[in-house]
């Protein structure tokens, strides 16, 4: 099973975060990833955006300009139905994959 690993991992992470924590803006997503992975996944924060935009084009997430706290405008992302399906499929696949990898690591 071949993953375009880094990209897929980031996609999976973003989808999970947006799905669990509800509609979020880009900075919020960045904070959540930072917090969840306890700085284990150190990416340039900016690279989040091309990924977000790509997923938006694919139709997994949708975005909308909204007013947030203190009357600031922010682009808020939410997971679409297609995104949810993708997340479920990817989660299963990822779990299988990582289980496989760890089995190999244990047995080898």
């Amino acid at each position: 099973m071949a993953f375009k690993s880094a990209q897929t991992a980031l996609d999976l992470l973003i989808l999970t975060v947006v799905q669990r924590r509800g509609p979020l803006h880009g900075y919020g997503i960045a904070l959540a990833i930072e917090e969840l992975s306890e700085d284990a996944l150190r990416v340039e924060e900016g690279s989040l955006y091309p990924a977000l935009h790509r997923m938006e084009e694919t139709g997994w997430i949708s975005a909308e300009w909204k007013l947030t706290e203190n009357n600031r405008r922010a682009r808020i992302y939410r997971v679409t139905r297609a995104g949810k399906k993708q997340l479920e499929a990817e989660t299963v696949r990822w779990t299988n994959y990582s289980a496989g990898v760890s089995r190999i690591l244990r047995l080898a």
Binding site: Y27, Y49, H53, G59
Partner: protein, 893 residues
């Protein structure tokens, strides 16, 4: 949804850019805020936020690629850029668009006619299974012109149909003719309709369905004279009856027969003959009854449809034996047939042609001229392309600094070439649009040029998708043609050299020379062709016809009774003639059974006493007295016809000099006798007079032998009137007098004799007209090209010329400098053009008259005109060069 947002973003890239920037700025602000809350200074926080964010520009570019259709965006960018560029130099843009649109318009207009007349399949299902039949025409001794006969007789048609069996079905389509018809009662107006006889299965075989009512079936075409039914064309029904469904059951009076309308063909079907729109179809059985049993009476074309499994070759194998047997029988029937003709008849081979594009008399006449004209139009297109290419080159010189700058900033050569090509495409797109409009306007006018009053030509000239596609293809090809080289050249500038002030101008000039050379060559070909066609036409005009057509009006007169005796009919004709002769202002009148130069002719073998019938059939023409004086054809000896001649035996005949020389050599022919056969009888003639030679039906062939015989009574005849009055006045007089004679006598057609003669050289007029106009156009474009290049070359050499002037060169020497340049440019193109045009001239040969392929007069005239134009184009640049002030020129650097 996704492609839509990408399309939207490509159309409004600015909005997207702002959005992306906003989103990222928001992120940075929030991060900075977070950091300041943890105690960092605002300055520090901002820096740190930026650091953590990464390369914002790069990331924004990545997002941009995702979110918009980048190819479209850059194309739009190119188009905007090109548009701005054109707005900035309007003179260039207008010149380019104008010359291109003329060329594209000419090509599109002519193509639309070529397409309608020759290429486009008939609007019926599976046109590729249709075919037409033909056989090579018999040639009289002394005539070697290859022609084809498409006429078939009814007995032969029946035999061929039986031989084809189930492999193919054959339909009768008579030659369309214009007839007078009345819709409704006796009082209603006579109108002229295009009528065609068809066999009962013709519509089914062609694949035509009704729009209203029903079309003919086999049952509607069984008994000779027994099916007075008519089918109207959609076009006629729409035009004349405003698509009134109550037309079914109405009665049409044509040639004293009443036809009941049973149906209307579906929209778009005009018949099987491009160039003609049929108004009404009637069953073939309504044709003259004698035609159904006469094997020598060819009166229709055969259009057939093959079944799915048969090829044209296989069908021909089945038909040829039947055709051959038929000809054998014919040879036996005509005892007097000369041996040369017998041999030809025995060897006749049936031909089978693809019938997808129908069968057309127009096509026969104009096929070659139209291809030639299209070729000439392509020549104009080449010149226009070369012209625009050199304009583009000159412009890219002015823009080389801009190009160099863009290359220095990292633009790729391909990207720049694409940008420049976009400009070319935009130019040709505008030109294509203008050309399209031009074509819409000129194509019908062009068809009008080829039309005669008695035989109007009409095409389904819908400038439809086929023609539009052609127009677009020509425009695009032109854009690539003129844009590619200059674009590549311009995009290949060396930025360092250019920014330093000198550039690869030498190579650009080389390319410019190539384009100007190309223009000169093409333009010279056009001038040669135009000159050849104009000289041909002049030669045709200069032909001495042997009569003076000026001031002669030819009226076609109909009377309505068929049952009247010939003698009574002749009396009616004479009544009208005498009434007209008595009118003030009428100088001469004459009767004939039809007019000369209108395509009708009668020829027969001449039998001298004690000799076999002549090898050649000679022309016979039935006229009244006064014919020769009215046409101003001099009498050489003998007398004119006199009353009663038509019923005398032997009949007096007047022959022309060519006839006298051929059959009586040097002896005096007056009083000599000869005969011709008519059915089983022989008609005897005695020669009463000899007149000088005249042309009969064409200007191209001169001095044919002609026998003039006294005209008998006819229900339709021609009246010649010589008068200084206008054609309209003569027509009004004749109409009044015809009515006064009564018996339904009426004027059907009015044509000046000059028009009749002119109609026989329509092809030549077309070629000379279009050839001449295009030659001038080509010359003009080439002159502009020459002027532009010379001017540019003088500008580039200002410094050199300045130095020469400073060193004491005289003005004459400097002018010579430019002149040398000019002659080098023109010389090479002229030689190429001469070679090309001589090669092409051989193709034109059959269209020319009195002009040889390498006629010194034509070549000389063309070269003279060309050189004069070239000199004119060089005057201004030469003056400019001579006027260079060395002080100014040298200080400039």
């Amino acid at each position: 949804m996704s492609w839509f947002s990408r399309l939207k973003n490509a159309l409004t890239p600015k909005q997207l850019d702002e959005e992306l920037a906003d989103e990222m700025r928001d992120h940075l602000e929030r991060r900075a805020e977070g950091l300041t809350q943890r105690g960092a200074s605002p300055e520090e926080a901002r820096h740190s936020a930026l650091r953590r964010f990464g390369n914002a520009t790069l990331l924004r570019e990545q997002s941009r690629e995702v979110r918009l259709w980048s190819t479209l965006e850059s194309v739009l960018q190119d188009i905007r850029h090109a548009w701005r560029g054109m707005r900035k130099s309007p003179v260039f843009a207008i010149t380019a668009v104008l010359s291109l649109s003329l060329a594209i318009g000419a090509n599109t207009a002519i193509f639309s006619i070529v397409d309608a007349a020759m290429l486009r399949p008939l609007p019926v299902p599976q046109p590729d299974r249709l075919f037409t039949l033909a056989s090579p025409g018999l040639t009289q001794p002394g005539e070697e012109t290859e022609h084809e006969v498409e006429s078939f007789s009814y007995p032969l048609y029946q035999q061929l149909g039986a031989a084809a069996g189930t492999t193919a079905r054959l339909a009768v389509f008579s030659y369309p003719n214009r007839v007078e018809a009345r819709v409704g009662g006796a009082g209603s107006v006579l109108e002229t309709l295009e009528r065609q006889f068809v066999s009962g299965d013709a519509f089914e075989i062609a694949g035509v369905t009704p729009a209203l009512g029903r079309l003919f079936s086999r049952a509607d075409d069984r008994i000779p004279g027994g099916h007075p039914q008519a089918v109207l064309s959609h076009d006629y029904w729409y035009r004349r009856f405003a698509a009134d469904p109550a037309i079914l059951g109405r009665v049409l009076q044509i040639e004293r027969k009443s036809y009941t309308v049973i149906g209307v063909t579906r929209e778009g079907f005009f018949g099987i003959e491009p160039g003609k729109f049929i108004d009404v179809w009637v069953p073939s059985m309504m044709y003259d009854k004698a035609a159904f049993t006469n094997p020598g009476w060819g009166w229709f074309r055969i259009l057939g449809r093959l079944n799915r499994t048969t090829s044209r070759g296989q069908l021909l194998d089945r038909l040829q034996p039947v055709f051959h047997d038929f000809q054998e029988v014919r040879v036996k029937m005509f005892a007097t047939m000369p041996p040369a003709i017998v041999k030809q008849v025995r060897e006749l081979k049936l031909r089978i042609h693809p019938g997808a594009a129908g069968a057309s008399s127009f096509r026969k006449t104009f096929e070659r001229p139209l291809w030639i004209v299209l070729g000439v139009a392509v020549g104009i297109l080449l010149i226009a392309c070369a012209n625009v290419a050199s304009l583009l080159l000159a412009r890219s010189t002015a823009r080389s600094a801009e190009m160099a700058m863009r290359i220095s900033l990292g633009a790729g050569r391909g990207r720049l070439a694409r940008q420049l090509l976009t400009e070319s495409l935009l130019l040709s797109l505008l030109a294509g649009g203008a050309g399209w409009l031009l074509a819409r306007w000129t194509a019908p006018a062009l068809v009008g040029l080829l039309s005669k009053q008695s035989d109007p030509v009409r095409f389904a000239l819908a400038l439809d998708s086929r023609v539009l596609l052609f127009c677009a293809a020509v425009s695009t090809l032109a854009a690539v043609g003129f844009g590619m080289l200059p674009a590549w050249q311009a995009a290949g500038v060396n930025p360092i050299l250019t920014l330093k002030g000198s550039s690869g101008q030498a190579s650009r000039l080389r390319l410019g020379r190539f384009f100007v050379g190309l223009q000169v060559a093409c333009a010279f070909c056009l001038v040669m062709a135009g000159a050849a066609f104009l000289f041909s036409l002049r030669n045709l005009f200069a032909v001495d016809t042997g009569f003076n057509p000026e001031g002669v009006t030819v009226l076609t007169i109909n009377t309505d009774a068929e049952t009247r005796k010939k003698v009574e009919q002749r009396q009616l004709m004479d009544q009208l003639r005498h009434r007209m002769a008595a009118m003030p202002g009428v100088e001469g009148t004459a009767l004939a059974n039809y007019a000369i130069f209108e395509g009708s002719s009668w020829s027969d073998q001449v039998i001298l006493p004690g000799k076999p019938p002549s090898e050649r059939e000679e022309l016979f023409y039935a006229v009244s007295s006064g014919y020769f004086s009215t046409l101003r054809t001099p009498f050489l000896s003998g007398r004119d016809f006199s009353p009663g001649d038509e019923s005398a035996t032997p009949q007096p005949a007047i022959v022309n000099r060519a006839f006298a020389r051929k059959y009586f050599s040097d002896e005096t022919p007056l009083g000599r006798e000869f005969e011709r056969t008519e059915g089983n009888k022989r008609v005897r003639y005695t020669i009463a007079g000899v007149v000088s030679n005249t042309h009969y039906g064409t200007l191209r062939v001169g001095a044919q032998p002609i026998v003039y015989v006294p005209v008998a009574g006819e229900s339709s005849f021609s009246l010649y009137v010589r008068s200084p009055l206008s054609t309209g006045s003569v027509a009004r007089l004749a109409e009044r007098e015809a009515q006064a004679v009564g018996s339904g006598m009426r004027v059907r057609e009015i044509r000046p004799l000059q028009t009749l003669v002119g109609n026989t050289i329509l092809r030549e007029k077309l070629l000379a007209g279009i050839g001449g106009v295009f030659a001038v156009l080509g010359l003009l474009l080439a002159a502009i090209g020459l002027f532009g290049l010379l001017n540019y070359s003088v500008a580039r050499r200002t410094k050199e010329i300045g130095i020469r002037a400073a060193l004491g060169a005289r003005k004459g020497e400097i002018v010579m400098l430019v002149a040398r340049d000019l002659f080098a440019l023109v010389g090479a193109g002229l030689i190429a053009g001469l070679a090309g045009s001589l090669a092409v001239m051989n193709v034109f040969q059959s269209m020319l008259f009195g002009v040889r392929p390498a006629d010194p007069l034509v070549v000389g005239t063309a070269a003279g005109i060309f050189l004069a134009t070239a000199l004119l184009a060089g005057v201004w640049p030469a003056r400019r060069a001579a006027g260079v002030d060395p002080m100014v020129a040298l200080r400039h650097e």
